[in-house]
């Protein structure tokens, strides 16, 4: 057998986690009616801030916190531009990505290959040694479980709480929400910052846990795949998890097929996660009823009161 299913499952969950974190954050942002295309930029900022701080402090937890702060700081720029200065969200998001890639590369000069602290794993050795279930369920670092809990938390908050209701109201009809007395701009800024922190945490996971190194441009489109996952998921948290695992599965599988030299061209394997993301997007969007109904109605629209 060229690919071992157990290690593939373990790799799938690891590969999926950064994208999952970024996508669940972006889902909240889009539910509030804001389209932030800067996920790639926020992720790479999180990756570099997480790596630098984890290296100097010797604490992975501090690295994760720094990754969140880096992503949120960049998101704050986006919030100022789009919410206070009413700039176009598509252009601002692109600016965020271009600036983030440059700034992260600048911060990271000279950090490639430096050592990192080990990451805490919550489950004891005995559980990890159970055949099959041990490695798949219990062997991961703490952030993998945090990401799963975050998906559940976002689902509960969006569908079962008052905060979630207000957030969705802002995303579906900001004028009505404003008329009811909700602070549209403040709620959106909070959502954007949450999205930035999630993307940053995803980036920090990528550099500190998965790759355990800093490489320029190491996110390699993960932020854009996270954006595609939100559409794929029809803005539903559990489907984001499904999409992230699908993507993680393909990415992990293609790496193994490359190592096994199965005769499929390497370029095709390299491109396969992106190609399959596109194919899945096409299938989801061509279903007219579903795509049109689930997108937040105010997505990408500028809110401005003259009153």
């Amino acid at each position: 057998m060229i690919v071992d299913p157990v290690t593939l499952m373990v790799a799938l969950i690891t590969v999926a986690t950064p994208v999952l974190l970024a996508a669940i954050g972006e889902l909240v942002v889009e539910k509030a009616g804001v389209l932030n295309l800067g996920v790639e930029g926020m992720m790479i900022m999180g990756a570099v801030c997480g790596f630098v701080v984890a290296h100097h402090s010797g604490s992975a937890a501090l690295g994760f916190a720094a990754g969140m702060a880096g992503g949120a700081a960049l998101a704050m720029l986006f919030a100022i531009l789009t919410q206070l200065l009413m700039a176009n969200q598509v252009a601002s998001g692109l600016a965020l990505t271009l600036f983030g890639l440059g700034l992260a590369a600048l911060i990271g000069v000279g950090y490639g290959g430096l050592p990192l602290p080990t990451v805490y794993r919550p489950f004891p050795e005995a559980l990890r040694d159970i055949p099959v279930a041990g490695p798949i369920v219990f062997s991961h670092s703490v952030l993998v479980y945090v990401a799963l809990m975050l998906v559940a938390a976002v689902w509960v908050v969006l569908t079962r709480t008052r905060i979630g209701l207000v957030l969705r109201a802002v995303g579906e009809n900001h004028d009505a929400a404003h008329a009811l007395g909700y602070k549209v701009v403040r709620i959106r800024i909070a959502a954007i910052l949450f999205g930035g922190a999630c993307a940053g945490l995803g980036g920090a996971f990528l550099s500190v846990v998965r790759v355990q190194n800093w490489l320029e441009g190491m996110t390699a489109g993960a932020g854009w795949i996270a954006l595609a996952l939100v559409v794929f998921a029809s803005w539903k948290p559990w489907r984001v998890l499904l999409g992230a695992w699908l993507f993680g599965g393909i990415a992990a599988l293609q790496l193994r097929l490359q190592a096994a030299e199965v005769g499929v061209p390497v370029a095709l394997l390299d491109a396969s996660p992106y190609l399959i993301t596109i194919i899945v997007l096409v299938i989801i969007s061509s279903d007219r009823s579903r795509a049109a109904l689930s997108a937040p109605a105010m997505l990408g629209r500028i809110f401005h009161t003259s009153g």
Partner: protein
């Protein structure tokens, strides 16, 4: 408290003033960034914006580079600006640029070592078609499957990069290159080269194409019904639909034109300044062109000027790297900053800033 009042029309003065002020603010913020890197901020800004053009030591090399670098930026940005005006977001020009370069180079290499005069025109055509082909994927998917063209065009950049890697290390690799990656040198072979047309100016066929594109875009946007349809579709999509504008046709047309121009830019680069297909011959012009398009206000003349300015930051950036040891990514951050300031200042063009007392709601 400060309040913003929407202007009925964008303020004329600020439409032109905002990019200029954005450049000044970027210089200040960039200076702070360089100071934080421990470099002399004033010296760094002078090396980036002044020395490439006016210093006796460097201008001999740098001045021709201005057109060499501005050519692809302007060519790509002109194509993007048509779509951006119509609300069609092709942000994968980098991918179309790569595929155009691969197709054009493959055409030239297929006839190697012939020096027939029709080979170069054929390469340009192949590059153009390659770019169109790559741009048609997001365009047709948007029209027929309602798939978001932003995501598809961007994701295809990574697919194009994988193709480039396989071309450079495999099917386009120089057979006499001792197994090293990279194709034969197209620029040093009569028949496939894109030469400097006027010695010492940096002017090559791609720069000429960029100038032609500027003029053509200006005529289309101001004089042709297509320009009217593009502006209408961007500003009032519903009105455009009632006015008989075929939205799908517009998407295919705008994406096709931007793909064609990006593909040609790729071919001109690979047969001229870059010289050959290599894994990393592309230096991100497709992404920087997005900044050029916005900084030029999606206006052909504006794009011409913005392209020259961003070309200057590329050249000045290389010089600053050489002279002051400023890391290369600093320039990318610098260019991103420029777009930030521009977008922020746009508020002044679209809104009137008013001071008024807060009243109880």
């Amino acid at each position: 408290m400060i309040a913003l009042e929407k202007r009925p029309q964008p303020a004329r003065g600020w439409v032109i003033g905002a990019p200029l002020l954005a450049v000044v603010l970027t210089m200040i913020a960039g200076g702070i960034m360089f100071a934080a890197l421990g470099k002399d901020p004033v010296g760094a800004i002078r090396i980036i914006f002044w020395d490439p053009l006016f210093s006796e030591q460097f201008s001999g090399y740098s001045r021709p580079q201005l057109l060499v670098k501005a050519g692809p930026l302007i060519l790509i940005a002109i194509g993007l600006s048509l779509g951006f005006r119509a609300g069609i977001w092709n942000i994968g020009a980098e991918g179309q640029y790569i595929v155009g370069a691969i197709c054009g180079a493959a055409f030239g290499l297929a006839f190697w070592p012939s020096t027939h005069p029709l080979i170069f025109p054929g390469m340009v055509l192949a590059g153009l078609l390659g770019g169109v082909l790559w741009a048609m994927i997001p365009a047709l998917l948007r029209v027929y499957a309602r798939t978001n063209e932003i995501l598809v065009s961007l994701l295809l950049v990574y697919v194009a990069e994988a193709m480039l890697a396989s071309a450079a290390t495999g099917w386009l690799r120089n057979p006499d290159g001792a197994g090293f990656p990279g194709s034969r040198n197209l620029a040093r072979h009569a028949g496939t080269d894109n030469p400097e047309l006027i010695a010492g100016t940096g002017m090559h066929w791609g720069v000429l194409a960029a100038f032609v594109a500027v003029i053509a875009a200006y005529v289309i946007m101001t004089r042709h019904v297509l320009g009217y349809q593009i502006r209408l579709a961007g500003q009032a999509p519903r009105a455009a639909r009632f006015g008989g504008v075929n939205a799908g046709r517009l998407v295919i047309l705008c994406m096709g034109v931007s793909g064609a121009l990006a593909g040609m830019a790729g071919l001109f680069e690979v047969s001229g300044p870059a010289g050959r297909i290599s894994i990393d011959f592309n230096v991100g012009y497709g992404f920087t062109a997005i900044i050029v398009a916005f900084l030029g206000r999606l206006n052909p003349i504006g794009i011409l000027l913005a392209g020259l300015l961003l070309a200057l930051t590329f050249i000045g950036g290389e010089l600053a790297q050489l002279m002051l040891g400023i890391p290369a990514p600093a320039i990318q951050a610098f260019q991103g900053m420029l777009l930030f300031f521009l977008l922020a200042l746009d508020v002044l063009a679209n809104y009137r800033v008013k001071l008024k007392r807060r009243v109880a709601a």
